[in-house]
Structure formats: C-alpha cells, structure tokens
C-alpha cells in the first residue's frame, strides 16, 4: 500500500452517514454522481465536493461513519478523489465497507486535535505512521492488518475473491 500525502480536511466527532451522504440521495447508483453530495449536510461544508482536490485526506474525531450501512458514504469520498480517512474512531460498518472498497481508513486517537484543515499530512498505511508535515508532529495509528490488509492490497473484496478464484 502506497504512502499517501495530501491536504487535510478536519471534521469533528460523530460525523454520521447522513452527514457524509444524506439519505435523500440513496436512490443514486452511479458513484460519480454520489461524489457530488459528499459531506453536503455537514454545516458549512455544503460545497465540500467543489473545494477538495484529488489526494486530499479527511481527518475526523470519534465515531466517524456511524449509522447506516450505505456504501454510498464510502464511495462518495472515494470517487471524489479523497485518498483516505483518519479518525479517532471509525464506526464498524463504515470501516468494513471502506476495506471492501480498497479505501484507506485508519484509527488514530488524538489526531483531530493535532491537525488543522489545510495542513499537509503524510500517511504510511503499512506502519500506521502519520506525519503532519506542516507542524512536524508525528502520530501512530492502528495499522491495517490480517485479512483486511490482504483485501486492501488487492484493491477491495471483489478483487480479492476474484484472485482466489483465479488461483
């Protein structure tokens, strides 16, 4: 898994699936359409999808992605070009959906207070090491391990099971 470097967008605690991707857009089936509505319901972030650059990284507080099992909430960020999410804690279903789509999610206690929107950060998914290049501070996230790592390396669950079938 490649090292990521990007500009941070910092969010608070309890960024739930309706804030990430509101229920009214659930009937959409095209991920590039989903991307236009990412974070739209977070107050002050209505135009998030227009302001981000590919490679940007989402940083958040505790309980990121709580709520619905909607995979749209992962796909909208992935197809917007966000390279990953680092949060103090990540809700279980969101974590699983992200891994299954080869979208990087890391849990890193304390991170949301130590990074500001606009800071340049670098992430090593293999080791969980995170550097805030703007301040020089370093943090240690829980690295991805075991089966989840194997799935991530293949690019997602479907690619992983296809590799098993081909073998």
């Amino acid at each position: 898994m490649a090292v990521l470097r990007g500009r941070a967008w910092v969010f608070g605690d309890n960024i739930d699936t309706d804030l990430i991707y509101h229920g009214k857009y659930l009937p959409l089936t095209d991920p590039s359409e989903m991307a236009k509505h990412a974070m739209e319901y977070v107050p002050g972030m209505e135009d998030f999808s227009k302001r981000v650059k590919p490679g940007d990284i989402v940083v958040a507080g505790r309980n990121f992605g709580s709520g619905s099992s909607r995979e749209h909430a992962v796909l909208c960020l992935k197809y917007l070009g966000i390279s990953g999410v680092i949060a103090e804690s990540i809700s279980r279903i969101y974590y699983r959906n992200a891994i299954n789509n080869g979208f990087l999610v890391l849990e890193c206690p304390g991170i949301s207070k130590k990074v500001k929107t606009g800071d340049e950060i670098e992430v090593e998914p293999e080791t969980g090491r995170i550097r805030n290049l703007s301040t020089g501070e370093e943090f240690q996230a829980n690295p991805i391990s075991g089966l989840e790592k194997e799935i991530m390396e293949k690019g997602g669950l479907i690619e992983y099971i296809q590799s098993l079938i081909e073998r």
Binding site: L19, G23, K24, L26, I158
Partner: protein, 413 residues
C-alpha cells in the same frame, strides 16, 4: 456460535469465513448490489443459492418517485431471473420483521442484509449484521463472507420496571451508558431479570439499538415463549444456544434499573440521553410511532391502552404518524380497533415500512420543526435540514402527542 458453524474453536479477533444462511437485500442498496453483481459476473452470473436469498421492499414503499420505482424493478427482475425464493413486495413491511414472522430466522443463523439494523435479529439469537453492497455481491458469489470474531461484553439488567417505563427507556439507558462508539466492534450479551420479562417486541427494541453504540450484535437467549414462537413460525425444532459457562468476557456490566424513569435522546446523536421531565415544555410539531425499533403490535398496544386510559385526543397542532412494521401488525391493529382509535384521535396511519426513517417518503420536517420519534436515530438534518429529532418510547410519544409538548407519560396518569 461461529465455532458451531465451523466445527472448531474460534477466538475473538480471529478472521473467519462463515457460510451464510440468508442474504437479504432491500429496495435500498439492493439495486446497487445487483448492478455490481451483474458487472462483476459479466451479466451471466448465477447466485450461489437462490433459496438462501431474500428480497424485502421496505425503503420507500410504494415507490415515491421514478428512480425508486426503477430500483424496485431492478430487484423484481433480478428475483425472477435468478429464481429467488423469498421475495416480499411493497405491501409486506420492514424486512427483518417480515423474515422473523415468516419463520426464516432462528437462533444461530448467520444473516447479512443491506440494513444497519439487521442486527435486531440478535433478539432471537441470530447472528445478523448490516453490510454494504460489496459484501452482498461477495455473498451472492461465494455463499460465505469474512468476519472478525468480536469480543463479548455481558450486560445484566436486574430489577423490575415500573409502568409507564418501557423497554425503550432501558434501550436509551443502554445507549447512554455505552455512548455512540462504546461497543464498537463488540458483541453484547444481554441478560438479567428485566430481560427475562421482556416480550419479543421488547427484545427487538433493545437489540436494534446496539447499532447506535457501534456494536456488532446484541444477543438475547430466547425464553420458552419465544422459542415456541420461533418453532411455530419456522415449523421446525429450534435449539437455543446457551452462552459458554466459561465464556471470556471483555467486561461484565450489571445494573439494577428498578428506579429507571422515562428517557429521551436529544438532538443530534442517540447517546445524548436525558430524563423526559428535564425536557418538559419543549413544543413538538410531529410525533412518530413505528420503525424497526418500535413498530410491533405490542408497541402500538401500549400506546393505545395509554390513550384509552387518559381518554384524550391528540393536540390538533401535532402531526401524529403511525407506521406498523409489517402487514401482519397492520391487520391486527385493524382487527382490534387500535388503528381506528389512532385515526379518530387525529393520527395518520401509513402502510407498513420504514416510513420516516427513510427521508423523502413520510413526514419530512420543515426547518426549525421538532419531531418526537420512537425510531433509533436523530442525526442532524436526517429528516429535513434545520429540524430537531428526539427519540423516546411509545408511551412518551403518545403522551406528548396529546399535550403538544414533550411530556413524561407519568404526568397524565
């Protein structure tokens, strides 16, 4: 449970591939899964076993717009093409409840579905969990799926609840004790005197909101009454699974909740729980009784008996919406005159389904409006930008529908 399935010991933290007894898709995320399945298999794929797949429509039923209608058609066509055995159309109700009533869920069964409240089936000791569409596609192909065996926490509720305190108040107490991520990745085992006294509906209420603490599943061992229900419905012998006597719990939490009082979860996170009397005087614009958490017959019967006892009509300024979980619940409410009483009191009775929990169908709120709901989530803007949602029991809901402000149900008795 996983050990039983795999025929070997498994440990918490281990990753295992479990065979799936049932894969459930809905008119929400189901179409995404089907389109993804067609893409992955080049349009020629056959599902691993059409008798172990169920399609339940509950999201925006009957279809509320063209896109939803088209999505439902994608599911109908897929069911026909693949010969899917269990298909429930727009008249049936909330998926998990329909499957339970049809006898398709038993203790120890492994079920995945495109609904984060799939795990309410832990109320009958099924390992059911909500997943995204990629997991569904993998399940369609392989008939099994990866899981990380969760660590267990034992939660014991002792004591005796005093009317009008309900299982929903116990549930909100549980959510406030654990917080929004306090049970993240964990499995909960509920037991104790209070749980023993719980009906199936009560157990469902509690198990459903394990999701709001991040928990994977909340198991409750069926008692004789619930075992009989499951046997009648499944027309087969049911074996409950007793927890290992030497089970290794991450934590055991015991509570005596005899002095619990009616609780309410305040905007905009479920963990923000307060006593109902602390919110006294907050005006409500809308009241909702229903959802996968509180949409069973017993929930409406509680509200109905309270309404009769207090003998009043709803406040004319309040929109009061009732949504039964299933067709079976609807029929019983009609037969027993309960639905009639609600409508006569000024309420709106809708068809069974997810109703308010899926935005864009029933009861959307205007900016600044307040909803008091028996459902499970009060996320910011979920039911309309700038609105406020409080979560409570059917009794707090009905009392507040009468007065027009958040009301402790004890105050009208």
């Amino acid at each position: 449970m996983a050990s039983n399935k795999l025929g070997r010991e498994v440990k918490a933290g281990e990753r295992v591939w479990l065979p799936l007894d049932l894969i459930v898709i809905r008119d929400f995320a189901g179409p995404n899964a089907i389109l993804q399945f067609e893409e992955v298999t080049g349009g020629k794929g056959k599902v691993f076993d059409p008798e172990r797949i169920a399609i339940t429509f509950d999201y925006q039923v009957p279809a509320k717009d063209e896109k939803v209608a088209n999505n439902q058609k994608i599911c109908r066509d897929f069911a026909e093409r693949q010969g899917i055995k269990y298909f429930f159309d727009v008249n049936a109700g909330i998926g998990q409840h329909v499957l339970l009533e049809k006898g398709l869920i038993t203790p120890g069964s492994v079920v995945i579905g495109t609904d984060s409240h799939m795990n309410l089936l832990g109320a009958v000791e099924s390992f059911s969990t909500g997943v995204g569409n990629t997991d569904i596609v993998a399940g369609f192909i392989l008939g099994k799926l990866w899981f990380r065996i969760p660590q267990s926490v034992k939660v014991v509720f002792n004591g005796r609840l005093e009317y009008p305190v309900t299982s929903k108040d116990v549930t909100l107490f549980f959510v406030s004790e654990f917080g929004g991520d306090g049970a993240n990745y964990l499995s909960i085992e509920f037991s104790g005197e209070v749980i023993d006294s719980f009906s199936l509906a009560d157990r469902i209420t509690l198990a459903s909101m394990v999701t709001e603490t991040g928990g994977k599943i909340g198991f409750i061992v069926p008692n004789e009454e619930i075992k009989t229900f499951l046997e009648e419905r499944s027309r087969s012998k049911v074996e409950v699974i007793d927890p290992d006597s030497d089970a290794n719990y991450l934590e055991v939490r015991e509570y005596d909740i005899s002095d619990l009082e009616p609780l309410v979860s305040c905007p905009h996170v479920p963990e923000n729980v307060k006593k109902v009397r602390e919110l006294k005087g907050v005006k409500v614009d809308e009241v909702f009784i229903g959802s996968c958490t509180n949409g069973r017959y017993e929930d409406f019967k509680l509200a109905y008996d309270y309404l009769l006892k207090v003998g009043k009509e709803f406040n004319p300024k309040v929109k009061v919406i009732f949504t039964p979980a299933t067709k079976e619940v609807t029929l019983r409410l009609l037969e027993e005159g309960i639905a009639k009483a609600f409508v006569e009191a000024g309420g709106v009775l809708t068809n069974p389904g997810c109703s308010l929990c899926t935005i864009g169908h029933h009861g959307i709120l205007a900016k600044g409006e307040v909803l008091l709901s028996t459902s499970n989530r009060n996320f910011q803007g979920k039911l309309g930008k700038g609105s406020y949602v409080y979560l409570c029991s059917p009794l707090t809901a009905i009392a507040s529908a009468i007065t027009g402000e958040i009301t402790d149900p004890r105050d009208l008795l």
